[in-house]
């Protein structure tokens, strides 16, 4: 298609973006994106969530630059210090700088969350859409498997899995992923069931498109909206789940500075040196809240019924 790529220079031109009759596919696409962004940015809480999430990610990436100390460096003479100019958030039971450990911990914790999401969302979506679209025996097999996983208590299943392999971040991620996908599959299946009998899917079938194409290109995009929302709302529970694995000593292993593990090891000092477990606790709280706000805002923008 000719003349399509000339669209780039106009991205800052509002009239070009908001025109009623775009001249090219890319102009239409950018206009659509701009409208989504305009709706989203009008929601202050959601914007706050987005900014916090971006800030957290930026801090995790820039941890070596922002950290004041080596997160693993012990200073046993200065254990459990209160926040001061030298140690902004104090030190832990081995005299390590809590602020630096939180920064590096963000890499581990946020990394685990993103890895879990990257594994779970596509997998759950695929299982749900396939089960919903094909129905019959395929549906029965996939959904009963989902039920079996869902019937296990999450933490026990994850514990059993981690215990069977070597405790660590990778097995932690896999364990969380294994116990998190079923709700996504159910969600995607429920959406697919209502979508697959619509006339617009019948119309796509009449083009002669293969089942794979129908599921992938026409059904999945419609399930995606509610899935994204569900994912961001789940982010916080994944952080907390990773923390509880860390807390039980089965996720990230010390001295790796994971937020949950930090609380776990500091819990002994909860009464006298309360600031030591409080700092990672606050970090988890802020991250969870930010993801929740972001999810709420995304739902408002992506739900076509609201527009």
């Amino acid at each position: 298609m000719s003349g399509v790529r000339t669209a780039w220079p106009n991205l800052l031109d509002r009239d070009w973006l908001l025109t009623d009759s775009p001249g090219s596919r890319s102009q239409a696409l950018w206009g659509q994106r701009y409208r989504l962004w305009r709706d989203f940015s009008a929601n202050r809480l959601a914007m706050a969530g987005l900014i916090i999430v971006l800030a957290l990610v930026a801090m995790a990436i820039a941890a070596p630059l922002l950290a004041t100390h080596n997160p693993a460096q012990q200073e046993l003479t200065n254990r459990l210090a209160t926040p001061s100019a030298a140690h902004w958030l104090g030190t832990d039971e081995l005299g390590r700088d809590v602020y630096s450990r939180l920064l590096f911990g963000a890499r581990v914790t946020l990394g685990m969350v993103l890895a879990v999401v990257a594994l779970v969302a596509p997998f759950g979506l695929a299982i749900g859409c396939i089960a919903g679209y094909y129905g019959g025996l395929v549906d029965k097999i996939l959904m009963r498997t989902t039920d079996v996983v869902l019937a296990f208590p999450r933490l026990i299943l994850a514990l059993a899995f981690v215990a069977a392999i070597k405790p660590g971040i990778t097995s932690g991620i896999i364990a969380i992923a294994i116990t998190t996908w079923p709700p996504y599959a159910r969600l995607a299946r429920a959406e697919t069931l209502t979508i697959r009998n619509t006339d617009y899917i019948a119309a796509v079938r009449l083009t002669g498109a293969s089942s794979a194409r129908i599921v992938l290109r026409h059904i999945t995009p419609l399930c995606l909206g509610s899935l994204i929302v569900r994912v961001t709302l789940d982010m916080s529970s994944i952080i907390l789940f990773a923390a509880s694995l860390g807390f039980l000593g089965l996720g990230a292993q010390p001295p790796s500075p994971e937020w949950g593990t930090m609380i776990a090891t500091a819990r002994r000092f909860f009464l006298e040196q309360w600031w030591v477990p409080l700092m990672p606790g606050l970090a988890i709280f802020v991250a969870s809240l930010a993801f929740n706000l972001l999810g709420d805002g995304l739902r408002d923008v992506l739900d076509p019924k609201q527009r």
């Binding site: 596919r25 619509t198 617009y200 079938r205 009449l206």
Partner: protein, 245 residues
Amino acid sequence: MISVQDLVVRFGPVEAVRGVTFAVGEGQSFGIVGESGSGKSTVLRALAGLNDDWSGRMTIGGVALGPKRGRAFFRRVQMVFQDPYGSLHPRQTIDRALSEPLIVHGIGDADRRIRQALAEVALPSSVRFRFPHQLSGGQRQRVAIARALMCEPEVLLLDEPTSALDVSVQAEVLNLLADLQDRRKLTYVMVSHNLAVIAHLCPQLGVMQGGEMVEMLSASDLRAGRVSHPHTADLRRLSTELEEA
């Protein structure tokens, strides 16, 4: 062009269509009238390959149809649905809806074809990148017709194509369908509950009741009142009663 013999369609234990037989010549229009639940739409969906559980014999252009249709079938046969609000994907632009058949069949030159298709159904090119919810009912039905014509089919199956539209828009769409048939020598099978609409477009029609085709007659016989089955007479009376008011 189309022949249907002893078509039986089942929904589980229920026979929704019980032994329907009709034939349509090339470039002709055949109408099926009936009330809701008469099985008229089911016949159409079975022809289109949207319903697998049927028995009997159906051929299109001399080729016998099986339960599963190949890609070649969908190049020859297309369908327009009743509800233009439901037959377009809510998250896809008109451009995308019209490119889909081209991509599936590997037909190139999408830009020109889409522009031509919009022009053919008398839609302004400004609707191309809009979403279905930004169009009126009549515009959407034009898009649905344009989409059905993208791969230049020979047969168009029309399932109540105007019953969700306002009467003034219905007239425009019926005129459009007539023009397209002239221009492209299309073969139509149209289903409707509205006797006058069917008689307007289809010189031959069948009346369905309870899954059976109780009478086949020509539109001129219908207009003149030369009907033999009481159900046809009932439908005709209901339709003319209001006209004469």
